[in-house]
Symmetry: C2
Subunit: 346 residues, 2 copies
């Protein structure tokens, strides 16, 4: 059965209405809708509109608030600690990103930490905003514990994503990755489909390497890149939880609407050097990477984030395909809230 | 044949005299000696006194200067771009670290980039200084090209190390790692010993996976953690070369005395929150990690940097063992420069 295909604008309209309907302020509903639809455009469907029913459920169950009071707890010209008032995470993180951009534009460097907020979604959403403002962006967030430290057999870290962006003459470069070897939702997918997992991605609750999705769900995911990825997970935990006083991953309620803390930094190259020279050096680096002859088994060398950028262009033109299982979730939400479904592309 | 064992102080005395003898200013010679000896203490012997003959050679051949003029090119209360005047890298990077500490202590956040400097050695040397000053440190450096981008078959990145440190009530936590899967010197070691390489660490110059050290030397190393480690390598390249205008890895002269650019950042937790509460949360995180039951094949879960810290304590007490091949290099240097060798422990 082919996927349902909808346009970016129709999906945005639908997502926006869902959040308006449960009392989310208009600006916040638009930020969330813009974010989820961008995730689908970039092919990161796990962070797209599939989150709508979960975010709604998070509000119903009281894990997050439809409207949280955004408060600046501490502030200087170059830093801020913000409290999201327990609200849905995307609008809080988007405001934190706006703040870091303003401060770094004025001062060259800035760091903002946010605590007490829900799931912030796809970190590239925020680092891309920083790069579109002509600066490098670094973002990190911790999440409910699912990943064992290297050599361990119990979850200590969340999938603790990290994202970095590089402003360019054309489209910015941005990567955004979990520090687990594979994403948690891929385990759930394997379980649904009856597939085995690849080797080296999970351990059972008694510490044995496992390829069983059931055992992996009761056990732990493993960090990417063995002990080195473990170190990066710890860096993410430190920046996003310890620096701003957000909960440790082991203390976060586990639900797709929750998160720990959020860290974002912006660095303006023009504070350090001539921006035109920076761009020229970046173009040289891009050209060295793109002209690198591929290794056996590869067709070309891609920049980090390039597959997502290509997908965005394709889906903007051709529409966003939604799996039937996701579409059914949207149908259920539409009926419950009395919202018109996104028009299906013929 | 057992290793030669020397004390920390004797090795420091010897290293200091070597650099004084070739015209390195006293303060710089002490910084370099302190750095190399700390690397040996921590068990990072590839960045210890084995570097002495290479740094001397770098000066003789004109890759680096015994005395470079340290110049601040741009500066604000929170950032600086420094030029090392082509000098030996360690004193330049140590001064950049001192600057970042002063600025972050005053302002909460600071970034310093350095360009035009030699090999900066072990990044943990600098991030540990930041952590000893009560702040989180992030350092990165690019290096002569040896690592292919993911999917590629020619060197584009250096082994591009990254280091992060976390201030604690006791010893700080610090990790310091190459973003290649294994270090370049391990390839040379395998070649000398006639060993094969592990799988997945290198490709030949025509893009085939290889376990031959000869082919790996002519080919490329691979990033750690596949495409995710590649993204981290690119982040290191961006922060250390593009931000401050240092050479790209592909443009750095290849010698053990050379480097690209150096990036260091300091973040003061007390600018964001109560420092005592920060320390209490960190202790909780450490205790969660250390009490994690080990996975099969492991005896205990270690913190990043914990093996190096244990080694430091052991070698401070028992002395620093030097392989005979390294000792012979020191004998040659001692004779050539007329310096008394480190006294051997009985």
């Amino acid at each position: 059965m082919p996927d349902i295909v909808v346009s970016r604008d129709e999906l945005f309209r639908f997502a926006r209405e869902c959040f308006l309907r449960i009392g989310v302020p208009e600006e916040d509903a638009e930020l969330i809708a813009d974010h989820l639809v961008l995730a689908n455009l970039r092919g990161i469907d796990s962070h797209g509109v599939i989150r709508i029913p979960y975010y709604l459920e998070g509000v119903e169950r009281g894990y997050v608030r439809a409207k949280g009071e955004f408060k600046i707890v501490r502030e200087s010209p170059i830093m801020a600690l913000v409290d999201g008032g327990g609200g849905l995470g995307i609008p809080v993180a988007a405001r934190a990103a706006k703040l870091v951009i303003q401060k770094a534009k004025a001062m060259g460097v800035s760091v903002v930490c946010a605590r007490n907020l829900g799931h912030v979604g796809m970190l590239a959403y925020y680092t891309l905003k920083v790069a579109e403002a002509g600066m490098m962006g670094l973002a990190a967030a911790n999440a409910p514990a699912r990943v064992a430290p290297w050599g361990g057999s119990k979850p200590v870290f969340g999938t603790n994503p990290i994202s970095f962006s590089i402003p360019a003459a054309g489209q910015p470069i941005a990567f955004d990755m979990a520090t687990s070897r594979i994403a948690d939702f891929k385990i759930r997918l394997a379980l649904m489909r009856g597939d085995r997992l690849p080797e080296g991605v999970a351990v059972s609750s008694d510490g044995r390497p496992t390829t069983s999705p059931e055992e992996a769900l009761q056990g732990s995911l493993l960090p990417f890149g063995e002990h080195k990825g473990y170190a990066i997970s710890l860096m993410v935990e430190t920046l996003s939880a310890l620096l701003g006083g957000a909960p440790l991953s082991v203390n976060i309620v586990r639900h797709p609407s929750t998160q720990g803390g959020f860290f974002i930094m912006a660095l303006d190259p023009s504070a350090f050097r001539d921006y035109g020279e920076y761009l020229a050096d970046l173009e040289r680096l891009i050209s060295v990477i793109k002209s690198c002859p591929p290794a056996r088994g590869f067709h070309e060398v891609l920049l980090p984030g390039e597959p997502e950028e290509r997908m965005r262009e394709k889906r903007l033109a051709d529409g966003i395909p939604l799996e039937h299982s996701v579409w059914s979730m949207l149908v259920e939400v539409a009926e419950r809230l009395g919202i018109e479904l996104p028009r299906i592309r013929s």
